[in-house]
């Protein structure tokens, strides 16, 4: 008898979990569900278009579906197309690896003004997520609020010249949008001092390669702490980097107080500095990159709130959580791998202990999932995306769900 496990979400957490489960027990039936017709979550739609090396983990995940026997069930929204309870009935174990895709709000006056954008919204638009909204006009003066790696990704992409995007998978619409953005200044603001910034020093070092900018770092300070000192050294090293006219300015220790504007459009961001003084920056766009939270859909707060053993990823009997959905919006791809490996061991032990001798139907309980996209369907989409990209791109993503589904449903032409 083989046990059935449903994993909700095909991002790195879901995929690493399936990998670990199937490595330990190749007999398991593991289905990975995703609301999108395409797999891999933020590896596809979050990891920057110009960081293709980081996306190479996809080769491991392909093997999961091609050799380890995991099954991709795309285009099925848990909470809409199927309830969590129905899933729990049909599977021996259900794991929520659905990530956190909601943008956190800053909570200051003026946030509703036109020209205020959140990082998740922008990155989804840049990377052509099927649910993305159109890319906005940024104007000449951009302020990025936040000091995590996502903020640096946005800064880097906005600062790059078109030639610097060679080799990426940035699509034609975002490419034209960046090339024609007209952005002249980018100020990136950290609430904390530089030493406590969340970004990694390597992300800052990478900015020394930018070809069309003048970088200024204001008030990086000093630090006795090793990690802090590394960040400050990286910032000091890019201070004064001058290869072009677009101005990039790092500022620290500034708490946003309010956004002001005229005719409903943001025009100025007001901050308080560490000494209680006020400073303001003119801006035509204000981008918040301050973290993520649960999006509408699965009742995460409720589920996580009454979790049996949240640290171990156990929400209830046969119900588990991993990755960002469990931990919150912190941690990189390797953190999810470690998290998933620990949870896999726990699930295997629980399955062992709960053997009732009854075989659960798994996805066969849901004949109504006729619109589901399987792995072979995805490979058709993948093939279409990689068949003939322009010379300086490695892929051209298909941006709309309709077009993806049309390709997915295209059955193979019979051989003549």
């Amino acid at each position: 008898m083989s046990r059935a496990v449903a994993i909700v979400g095909s991002g790195p957490s879901g995929c690493y979990l399936a990998q670990a489960l199937l490595k330990a027990d190749p007999q398991l039936r593991v289905d990975i569900l995703d609301r999108l017709p395409v797999p891999y979550g933020l590896v596809r739609y979050g990891v920057a278009a110009d960081h293709q090396g980081t996306k190479a983990v996809i080769r491991q995940f392909e093997r999961l579906f091609e050799r380890q026997g995991a099954c991709f069930v795309g285009n099925v929204v848990v909470g809409e197309d199927v309830t969590l309870d129905e899933l729990r009935q049909a599977y021996d174990a259900v794991v929520l690896a659905a990530g956190l895709s909601g943008d956190r709000a800053l909570g200051i006056p003026g946030e509703h003004l036109e020209g205020v954008h959140r990082a998740g919204y922008l990155t989804r638009a840049l990377y052509e997520h099927p649910d993305a909204e159109p890319l906005p006009q940024l104007g000449r003066h951009v302020v990025i609020m936040g000091n995590g790696n996502v903020a640096i990704d946005l800064l880097r992409l906005l600062a790059k010249t078109p030639g610097e995007l060679a080799g990426s998978d940035l699509g034609p619409v975002p490419t034209d949008w960046l090339a024609g953005s007209g952005v002249e200044t980018i100020d990136i603001i950290g609430r904390s001092p530089a030493a406590d910034a969340k970004f990694d020093a390597v992300m800052i070092k990478e900015l020394a390669k930018l070809e069309g900018v003048t970088i200024e770092v204001v008030g990086a300070g000093v630090s006795d702490d090793d990690e802090g000192a590394k960040k400050i050294a990286a910032l000091d090293a890019i201070h004064g980097h001058k290869t072009g006219s677009r101005r990039v300015t790092f500022r620290f220790g500034l708490t946003p107080v309010r956004l002001e504007g005229k005719d409903g459009r943001v025009g100025e961001a007001v901050f308080q500095d560490a000494n209680g003084g006020t400073m303001s920056l003119p801006c035509s766009a204000f981008i918040t990159a301050i973290g993520f939270e649960a999006a509408a859909g699965l009742p995460r707060d409720e589920l996580v709130g009454c979790a049996a053993e949240l640290e171990l990823g156990v929400l209830a009997d046969g119900l588990y959580a991993t990755g960002w959905f469990r931990r919150g919006p912190r941690g990189t791809i390797p953190d999810n791998r470690a998290d998933a490996q620990l949870l896999a061991a726990r699930i295997l032990a629980d399955l062992e202990a709960s053997d009732t001798g009854l075989e659960k139907p798994g996805r066969h309980a849901f004949p109504q999932w006729t619109a589901a996209v399987c792995y072979d369907d995805w490979k058709r989409i993948d093939a279409a995306e990689t068949a003939s990209p322009p010379q300086d791109r490695c892929r051209v993503k298909i941006p709309s769900r309709e077009a993806m589904l049309a390709l997915a449903r295209q059955t193979k032409e019979p051989d003549l």
Binding site: Y16, Q19, H51, Q52, G53, T54, A56, V57, R59, Q60, R63, G167, D200, A201, V202, K205, E206, K209, K230, I333, P334, R337, A338
Partner: protein, 155 residues
Amino acid sequence: MKIMLLYGTETGNAEMLAEDIMAELEGEHEVECRNLSDFGPAEFDARRLHMIVCSTYGDGELPASAQPFAEALKAAAPSLSDIHFAIFGLGDSEYEETFNFGSKGLAELLVSYGAVQVGERVTHDASGSDMAEDLAFPWAAGIVALAEQKIGEAV
């Protein structure tokens, strides 16, 4: 030949490659594949070839699964003069200044305790167009041929 295939990894790429190398070599050789996190310096064996696949992380550092091994090695400071190893690196040329420093550093560390490196260190670039196995399989075949002479002579 007896081969101990070891990998140091952060996101699993080196592990997958090590498994692929094992599948390539298994037919003709006796291969054991292990994570460096589960391998101690006392387990080096003069009769085996140690083949290491190791990535680079952070700012030119060893990946998480290789770090405890490197620490243990430094603490034990063993003499490895009868130990043969070969190493293959995974990295990304996006990180120009520290490209493949993980495998480089690990090789230097082993050599500093007297271990004998067999063949050249070959590296893969995640931003390049080669598949890791397309570089690693010929590397492995070449290393095994070299090591068969060397270890044969030594034992």
